[in-house]
Amino acid sequence: MNPIALLNSLPGAVSQGFIWGIMAIGVYITYRILDVADLTVDGTMCTGGAVFIMLTMAGWSIPAALLASFAAGMLAGLATGLLHTACGIPAILSGILTQLALYSVNLRIMGKANQPINANNYRLLVSSRNVRVLSTENPILVVGVVCILLIAALYWFFGTELGCSLRSTGSNSAMSRAQGINTNFTTVLGLMLSNGLVALSSALLSQYQGFADVSMGRGAIVIGLAAVIIGDVVFGKLFINFALRLLSVVFGSVIYYAVYSLVIWLGMNGDDMKLITSLIVALFLSIPYWKGKYFSKPVKKGGAANA
């Protein structure tokens, strides 16, 4: 129980939080904006890293490999989107099908279950080696800048005509069709964008930890949800603006990893973290339901009469 050890683990927690924050933004797009629970991300969270490492080792430049990771994630989102819209399979099941398929795909990409990459041989964007170094290569700085750029881009996108049609699809799909929006298209587009971001996060994570592993995405959806929910609970009242909402998701992810470090520091088994995460997310998802069921306030009558 050495406080210095906890302090030492914090920079790592923050950089991991930022990296997973990008993933959580992807989850936010499907879960909150599109109103679809997309389980594809558990697979995509490995695909991005796998594609990045293989391409980097094949001599691709870092930006090109990152772009390719993003594109690979979008392809995964496209698969789920088409299963859902063109084949009429429920969204959750579509995600599970793609996720399972991606397990094989990821193994095919890497050729084995775990693919390391040596930070000495490649100019990687981020590495956990620099996490306590004060330099421009510190992953907290690098990923922080990436987060801000992504949030700015998303803020712009969701303000465009196309972005608005995506938001309205999640808010009210029947109304969206009545207003001439092809909701199948917007749903697929949202899933592609979301999974592209998740794959990008995965590519950063594989660089940070120095390897891609076929099981690195297991439970990613729950971690993403945890970040979204924590961000909501902590900053929900403060951050109303859309860009700030996305930022709160990233902060939620950072808090999650800070708590993770704390739990480890307290001497709990790191293997139990998924159980704890699951319980916390289940609890937070139940609260609105319980509130409505057991603590409902009497509603003022006659609201419609004021029209």
């Binding site: 009210n172 001439g180 909701t183 009469a305």
Partner: protein
């Protein structure tokens, strides 16, 4: 204008819940016709509107507007020609979006949605003017989330959205049924004004026989998936509720009309 020819629709075909909602229904609306539609529960009124709007494809028959064949066109493409207001006030607007954002969505009905900015400054000014027509004070609340509005306000907003770009056909599916009488009258009043101003061709379902007689230039009564009464012009103006009930009993061969129709 609107040409519906011999359309059929059966739901849950081949199951115990099989229900033929439209039985070879035909309807022609002239440009500028404002037709009210009445009929008992299960007469096929909403089914007719949904068939025209393209919520699902019809089993047989054809639908066209202004000479354009819509029969096999998906719902979102038909939106270019059709404005709709639903019975449920929650259905017509996006609750988590602002009033101005909802209007901006409607302003792009039938147009390609690109990466241009979703709402421009000039638009905002125009929306303020349009919202004033409703006389509900919404023009001061452009950035309020629609979810905060009352049912009547949302319904009035939906009406405005449906007519923001002049539709070739306006479909109103009992759009005042879920509102209290005072609000319903207000929304209906706004409906009349907008239809008259823009000379809109309209199909309006109502369960209120008096409204059906008072509004529009044409009255259609449906029974078991067909149109059984279709009156217009002077004949419609002189119509009274008792006469309408009598007409209905004669056509349907029963007097169940009293229970099912006299809800007003």
């Amino acid at each position: 204008m609107l040409d519906v020819k011999e359309i059929w629709k059966t739901f849950n075909a081949g199951t115990v819940n099989e229900k033929t909602a439209l039985r070879g229904l035909s309807l022609h609306l002239n440009d500028g016709d404002f037709a009210t539609v009445i009929g008992g529960n299960g007469a096929g009124k909403s089914t007719l509107l949904n068939a025209v709007a393209g919520v699902w494809p019809v089993d047989a028959g054809s639908i066209s507007i202004g000479g354009v064949d819509l029969t096999h066109m998906p719902e979102h493409k038909r939106a270019k020609y059709i404005g709709r207001v639903f019975q449920d006030p929650m259905l017509g607007t996006a609750a988590t979006m602002q009033i101005e954002e909802n209007l901006a969505l409607a302003a792009r009905r039938g147009k390609r949605r690109s990466l241009r900015i979703g709402i421009t400054k000039a638009e905002r000014e125009a929306y303020i003017e349009r919202l004033k027509i409703l006389d509900l004070g919404l023009e001061d609340r452009l950035t309020s989330k629609v979810g905060l509005l009352s049912g009547g306000q949302r319904q009035a907003l939906t009406l405005l959205m449906a007519t923001l770009i002049k539709p070739q056909l306006l479909l109103l599916d009992e759009h005042t049924a879920a509102l209290d009488p005072k609000t319903a009258a207000k929304v209906l009043d706004a409906t009349d004004r907008i239809i008259e101003k823009d000379h809109l061709t309209t199909l309006m379902i109502t369960h209120n026989m008096r409204d059906a007689i008072q509004h529009g230039n044409r009255l259609i009564m449906m029974y078991e998936g067909r149109i059984v009464i279709d009156v217009s012009g002077e004949e419609k103006k002189k119509l009274t509720v008792p006469q309408l009930l009598e007409l209905f009993s004669k056509v349907s061969g029963s007097d169940e009309a009293d229970d099912k129709l006299l809800l007003s």
